[in-house]
């Protein structure tokens, strides 16, 4: 990055707030703020993951049995989709750093579209699960000795993927907004903090899925 003085249009975009001495301080603070927020998010998912771990340790067979019936193909495709979206996101930040306006906007748009694809596949999966009658509380028709364990597994499954899906939805909104702003020339090599911070959030949402995927889809498959 060059240390040339800011052009007037850059200064206008920076919205340097009075509590900051320099644009650099403001940008770094924004990124740090997002990291602290992500720490909160880790614990937010952590509460549910603790519940999952606790119950899986209590009911190992019941959990394995229920997990075997998840849609591993869709789950795997979705993992690929989301990982790819993280790649395009990282590339978008890279492009923004180098002031490549069109590339930034297109890569951000690709990220948002991959996010939508993820949600679409997730919706398909939910639809199948509704048809199968494994939605606890609303449409649940399993019987057998471990039916109540399966109900708890699917309850946690829907809570975890539901909260994750909510995060993906918010992420798509943010990424799309960044794509529009990038297309309109809202960023430059001197100022692309919003893209960077949105990227952090998007990678976090991806990372949560990296934990959910094995816990939900792979847990029961190695056993008999």
């Amino acid at each position: 990055m060059s240390e040339t003085p800011l052009a007037p249009q850059d200064l206008g975009r920076l919205h340097l707030e009075p509590q900051y001495a320099t644009a650099r301080q403001q940008a770094e603070t924004a990124a740090f703020g997002m990291w602290v927020f992500l720490a909160t998010e880790v614990l937010f998912f952590g509460g549910m993951l603790f519940g999952y771990t606790y119950l899986r340790a209590t009911f190992p067979e019941g959990f394995a049995e229920a997990a075997r019936e998840t849609h591993v193909i869709i789950g795997t495709i979705n993992t690929v989709v989301l990982l790819t979206s993280s790649f395009t996101m990282a590339w978008a930040v890279h492009a923004a750093e180098r002031d490549r306006r069109r590339a930034t906007a297109l890569l951000l748009a690709a990220t948002a579209l991959l996010g939508l694809l993820f949600l679409g596949l997730k919706g398909l999966e939910y639809y199948k699960e509704w048809e199968e009658g494994v939605v606890p509380g609303l449409n649940f028709h399993k019987d057998g000795p471990n039916a109540h364990v399966a109900a708890m597994f699917y309850y946690l499954y829907f809570m975890l993927t539901g909260v994750h899906g909510l995060h993906v939805t918010i992420g798509i909104g943010l990424v799309a907004l960044m794509a529009v702003r990038a297309w309109r020339g809202g960023f430059s090599a001197r100022y692309y903090t919003p893209v960077e911070v949105t990227g952090l959030y998007w990678h976090f949402v991806d990372l949560v899925w990296i934990f959910l995927y094995p816990l939900i889809y792979l847990a029961g498959r190695s056993g008999p």
Binding site: T29, G33, T40, G47, F50, G51, L55, G137, F140, A151
Partner: protein
């Protein structure tokens, strides 16, 4: 009301200076409700939590009324709703936000020599979330209340309670996000916005304490949020992981709940430590004894505080080994708390002590917190806890910390920084009377409860055996004194807004950057960003204010 209170200032701008934060943005309601100024947001919070303090206090008054006679005045169901309302309002709508959102919001940027917090819009958002949460809570109360106790224990809360549980859960859930955003703002601001020369070890202990608090707010609150969300879904859809009838485990709920709620106990005391660490050196005219120990004991409490939660569950069916570990850890966390008490006492040693109202509150705090802390060791003991669980001994113990400690610290801080916040001095004589009333009223209210608990009186019952009446009457009599003590500041502090003597920038001759700017401060706190060259609390040997 808000605007009216402070527009009184407008007619007399501070001599020889530009407009203060109270006058600069104008006097409209809009200028208050859309402000990004951390000082104005602190005022908004102060008004909101004062309202909730009196709502929670009203419930406490009714509880003490009920317990004057052994059969009780209210139906048990009404009584359940009263103590639940008292607990929920006081914990989430007064104590948790109390010092951080009011004094913390106001003072942290001033103390670190910054013009505002790092994210002013987020700060305003957090107040709005708090208001939304408060309204939800008041609707739940107005609609008929909740009878689960503030702990929302399952399966009672998910299956059997007939109160407005989901509404109350929603209120606490939303207030959690308000807490998280405040904590986030503090952490980031203290890391990123310190003035030149203000190294970590030159930071006032008030900032350190709020930093430690913010760590807990950010890392513990999300657990509460998701746990309450799980309870709400379980109650609405009758599926879940906590109800044994569904195959779930109520202990899982208790683990998750206390994983937040024990650290939350430290949210409700650490900021008080910060206030006391500012007041004691100022009124003893001495540097704080063992600054680094005080600082690191705050961080240690925030850290160890995450690993003691199951001491709330000794009789809930956890294993003996788990009980031993959590008992030991609960003893260990008493060490950093004790370090603080010793350091404040050592600061007093050979000091030039003056007994102004803030100092009376601070000294009261040290005494009450010590009793609360020592009885904490009793209930950390496995054998004694079996005897004391769910008795008034526990009630007395945590009220000594939260009310005797935190509320005293809040009042002490409010008086200490009142001249800075409003530009006016409060009437000293009245303030001392209130401080003394609160100290004696508090002890009369809660000391008998130690005895009641030790004798075996259970908490959360509307009636009790007649032999306990004498102690309950003493306690209720104390509560009436306490009520007068808490109501008094409302009048004389309100009076001082118009009639109080003008305070200069530094009425206490205190150190710290907040005293180096006019009272009330200008909108962006400092005309020139201050530079710090010395450690804090340099009251002796050189009492001169530090150069800025």
């Amino acid at each position: 009301m808000t605007t009216a209170t402070f527009t009184g200032q407008s007619e007399e701008p501070a001599p020889g200076s530009q407009a203060s934060y109270l006058t600069a943005e104008g006097f409209t309601l809009r200028s208050w409700l859309l402000t990004k100024d951390h000082k104005r947001i602190a005022i908004l919070y102060t008004i909101s939590i004062t309202l909730f303090f009196f709502v929670g206090g009203a419930a406490a008054t009714l509880i003490r009324f009920n317990l004057v006679t052994p059969p009780g005045l209210f139906q048990p169901d009404t009584y359940n709703r009263l103590f639940t309302m008292h607990g929920i309002v006081m914990v989430w709508f007064f104590l948790i936000p109390s010092i951080p959102t009011t004094l913390g919001n106001f003072l942290i940027p001033l103390m670190i020599g910054a013009k505002d917090l790092a994210f002013p819009r987020l700060n305003l958002l957090s107040w709005y979330l708090f208001v939304i949460a408060g309204v939800l809570g008041l609707i739940a109360i107005g609609a008929g209340g909740v009878d689960t106790g503030w702990t929302f224990y399952t399966p009672f809360s998910t299956m059997y309670s007939n109160g407005y549980v989901v509404l109350a859960l929603a209120a606490v859930f939303v207030s959690g996000f308000s807490s998280i955003l405040t904590g986030l703002n503090f952490i980031v601001s203290i890391h990123r916005l310190r003035a030149p020369g203000l190294t970590w070890y030159r930071l006032p202990v008030f900032c350190w304490s709020n930093y430690a608090t913010a760590l807990i707010l950010v890392l513990a609150t999300p657990i509460l949020a998701i746990t309450l969300a799980l309870v709400a879904v379980e109650r609405l859809l009758k599926v879940g992981i906590f109800d044994p009838a569904l195959g779930g485990d109520p202990l899982l709920f208790q683990h998750l709940f206390w994983f937040y709620s024990h650290p939350a106990v430290y949210i409700m005391i650490l900021p008080g430590f910060g206030v006391i660490s500012e007041i004691v050196p100022c009124f003893a005219r001495k540097p704080l004894f063992g600054y680094k120990f005080v600082v690191w004991s705050s961080i240690a409490i925030a850290g160890i505080g995450f690993f003691v939660w199951a001491h709330h569950m000794f009789v809930a069916g956890i294993s003996l080994y788990a009980g031993l570990v959590f008992s030991l850890l609960s003893y260990i966390i008493a060490v950093p708390s004790a370090i603080k008490v010793f350091n404040w006492t050592a600061t007093l040693h050979k000091g030039w002590i003056s007994f102004d109202a803030p100092m009376l509150y601070a000294l009261g705090f040290i005494g009450l917190f010590t009793i609360g802390g020592l009885t904490g060791l009793f209930v950390a003991n496995l054998a004694f806890d079996v005897h004391a669980t769910d008795t008034y001994f526990v009630v007395a113990h945590f009220h000594y910390i939260m009310v005797g400690g935190m509320v005293s610290a809040y009042f002490g801080g409010l008086h200490y920084w009142w001249p800075k916040i409003t530009g006016r001095l409060y009437p000293e004589w009245w303030a001392r009377i209130a401080a003394i009333l609160i100290f004696f009223g508090f002890n009369l209210t809660f000391f008998p409860q130690f005895i009641l608990g030790y004798l075996g009186m259970q908490r959360r019952y509307a009636s009790y055996p007649p032999e306990f009446q004498i102690w309950n009457v003493l306690s209720s009599a104390g509560a009436s004194i306490l009520a007068v003590g808490y109501a008094l500041p409302l009048f004389y502090l309100g009076w001082s807004l118009w009639r109080g003597q003008k305070a200069g920038p530094n009425p206490w001759a205190a150190t710290g950057l907040e005293w180096r700017t006019p009272s009330p401060p200008p909108p962006h706190n400092f005309d020139v960003t201050p530079t710090v060259t010395r450690p804090p609390y340099q009251y002796r040997p050189d009492p001169e204010p530090q150069d800025v």
